[in-house]
Symmetry: C2
Subunit: 426 residues, 2 copies
């Protein structure tokens, strides 16, 4: 039986999950994979904090140097989270030839080139399946099951917090602040929810996911993001009447000459497979030029689902004599091999409040036509009131044209205000 | 660049798809995987049939011996379909050390031990991702991404023909024969549809899928199967009123001491992720003790989706120096390591026609209670008519008890007939 000595960087919720999983399924892993994992060191903030039952507390340390001094270490599992000091610790280990398994999306999204270079230099492996969508094995599937495809598109519900909140707003008829409060009470949202509701978390994951899918590094800072804070029950209800449900979507598309990467609330048709993804579940919808549409669905967070991905990576790392490295032309740093688009085409849902004056529709349609924007559906309800809501859905149009048009619409004397602009995907 | 010489066994629809894919994505595969595939031989029934443009027709042969005589062959891709002669050909190649990639579910389901033994003997690899659900990479995911889990359950929509037909019956309000006729017209059903509608095709795939998932050979002949020929629009409509949609489901469950494997039409809750799988799409819903619920969704058939899985296997086979073999205790033959259950618990939907006599419900409830079957919901509509439909859904109960109860119910003077018995899963 192969003995694999592992050090933990951190030992909180996910670290505890990995430890429990290694205990729980040790016999199966030993039988099927012929290996046994031994935890020989664990870097923690306090050695006195309670640990899972059976954890080898004698190997706890608060010193990274002490951890580094452990002999015969084959593998490190990183659970610290955040960019630093996690990135520097991982870099040090990789350069020394210790393979690293991590769930740390921030560190990978920010420092992938640096970590990849360290891994190559040390001949070590860098594995991060758990960094995108927890237990869903989408990263490995992209490079080891869909490698015969040219991947054209990834669309994902990759943030559980916002999916939970939007589901509660859509199905439970809560408003944004009620949904946030409930998500916080249930532990699905942080006390400071900015990183989730603003799209920062999803952007980190999309950077990793679309880089792997499109085989070109998609830098985090090039990803457009818009949060869900402006989504109202009124728009959700109006969207539903038009056949759409609202989802916080991470979208990557590869074109001939550019890559598109954006995170924003999106209306999706009610019968789209992603629309059926409820609560805190995650899903990634992938389109390849051979395989067509595929979807991976599962738990994007939680100690044991995340541990499932990490232990899988640990098994793979331990089995692999020659680790693989990305062959992106731009692995080692910027600039992107393919430019990241700052403009793209999509359909839009636009809600405005008009004043009951003659020529409202003509004026509005004129502005849109001037920008080459064609209207797919338009409804104006409540004639005879002082203020009239107008809702329309456009055909696919350029984002930049739409923004320009919205500025001009807001200045029309007939338009009191533009209330909502939400992108629509098919 | 690594040159990989491949022979084709067969070159019809799927073989043509593999050839087209290798041409279409050759540059990407060469860049990412560092290899190029050369077709050096192809066994066909007729060398004069038209082949895809660019196919190396000079290497076509109708003789397996001639194919065997090709020098420097690393890999064989098998597209013959059917148990024989495909199994014998594959066995011969494997024993000679030629790795085999196949989409042939019948051959694997019937002859896995024999083929596995030949692969071991020859030091060759046997890869069959495409044999289950075409392009959906569920087989590899089970053994290389979920290997840290104890897999407890797989539930799949793994036959596109029956899913298409049931969707058309459920959404398009067709009856069985109309749905079959439409499926045949669209090429989703064979002229003789028995293997699809009867569950034979799904049983082959479930044998492979549940063997991999539960790490014990689940023999084809032990899989219970019931077809969809008895499903009526009336039951579909009644089920929908109760909150269910009908799906042809392949179900594998692992218990402490036994494995359950069955294929039959099943009522699923309307909000189950599998219920959203429409038309000819496939999906596999997997439950692991760490990862929780996962679902894989995609195209289960078609030339390019199937080719996506086959070329992925070809890349893996060509990269792999030491092929892996299953570590099932019962890989090499029967009997099953874990017994395959001949009885199981499930909920049931039961529809009967009662005569309008006193004591109908009392008599019926008495029979069920006698067999320990507890009723979850019961509705009896249309009092005052001569014949009264009774529909009930049970709590989970043993299949054997239910069958016994149905025999007795059919003999009650108050019951004209038992119209439908459909299993219900959550």
């Amino acid at each position: 039986m192969k003995q694999v000595n592992v050090i933990f960087l951190g030992c909180g919720n996910i670290g505890g999950g990995v430890f429990r999983l290694l205990q729980m399924n040790a016999a199966g892993i030993a039988h099927r994979e012929g290996m046994q994992f031994n935890i020989v060191g664990a870097l923690v903030r306090s050695v006195n904090k309670p640990r899972p039952e059976g954890f080898p507390t004698q190997c706890l340390t608060t010193s990274f140097d002490e951890l580094l001094a452990k002999p015969d270490v084959q593998l490190a599992a990183e659970f610290l989270g955040g960019v630093e000091p996690a990135s520097t610790y991982m870099e040090t280990l990789l350069r020394r030839g210790v393979s690293v398994v991590t769930a740390n999306k921030e560190a990978i999204a920010h420092n992938w080139p640096r970590l990849e270079a360290a891994a190559r230099a040390g001949g070590a492996g860098l594995y991060f399946e758990a960094s995108v969508c927890g237990g869903i094995p989408v990263i490995k599937s992209l490079y080891s099951s869909l490698q015969a495809n040219d991947i054209q598109q990834v669309k994902g519900i990759i943030n559980g917090t916002t999916n939970y909140m939007l589901c509660r707003m859509s199905q439970g008829h809560l408003d944004y602040s009620q949904a946030l409060e409930e998500a916080q009470a249930k532990g699905y949202a942080e006390p400071d929810p900015t990183n989730d509701v603003g799209g920062g978390d999803a952007a980190c994951k999309l950077s990793i996911l679309s880089s792997i899918a499109f085989h070109t590094k998609v830098p985090l800072e090039d990803i457009f993001r818009e949060g869900i804070t402006g989504i109202t029950p009124q728009d959700i209800e109006t969207g539903r009447e038009l056949g759409y449900d609202i989802k916080m979507l991470a979208i990557g598309k590869k074109h001939e000459d550019r890559v598109e990467a954006r995170v924003h609330p999106t209306f999706l048709p009610l019968d789209h497979p992603l629309t059926a993804v409820k609560d805190s579940y995650n899903a990634v919808y992938v389109t390849g030029n051979a395989v067509g549409n595929l979807m991976y669905y599962g738990k994007g967070a939680g100690d044991l689902p995340t541990a499932s991905a990490m232990v899988s990576d640990m098994v793979t790392a331990a089995r692999t004599a020659h680790h693989r490295y990305n062959t992106f032309a731009n692995t080692e740093g910027a600039p992107a091999e393919m430019p990241i688009a700052q403009d793209w085409t999509t359909r839009f849902y636009l809600r405005m409040t008009a004043l009951d004056m003659p020529g409202v529709l003509a004026a509005m349609a004129g502005v849109l036509a001037h920008h080459g924007i064609s209207i797919a559906t338009c409804s104006q309800k409540g004639y005879g009131h002082e203020q009239v809501p107008i809702v329309l859905i456009t055909h696919p149009t350029w984002e930049s044209a739409m923004r320009q048009a919205v500025c001009e619409l807001a200045q029309l004397p007939q338009i009191k205000q533009v209330d909502a602009l939400i992108r629509v995907e098919e």
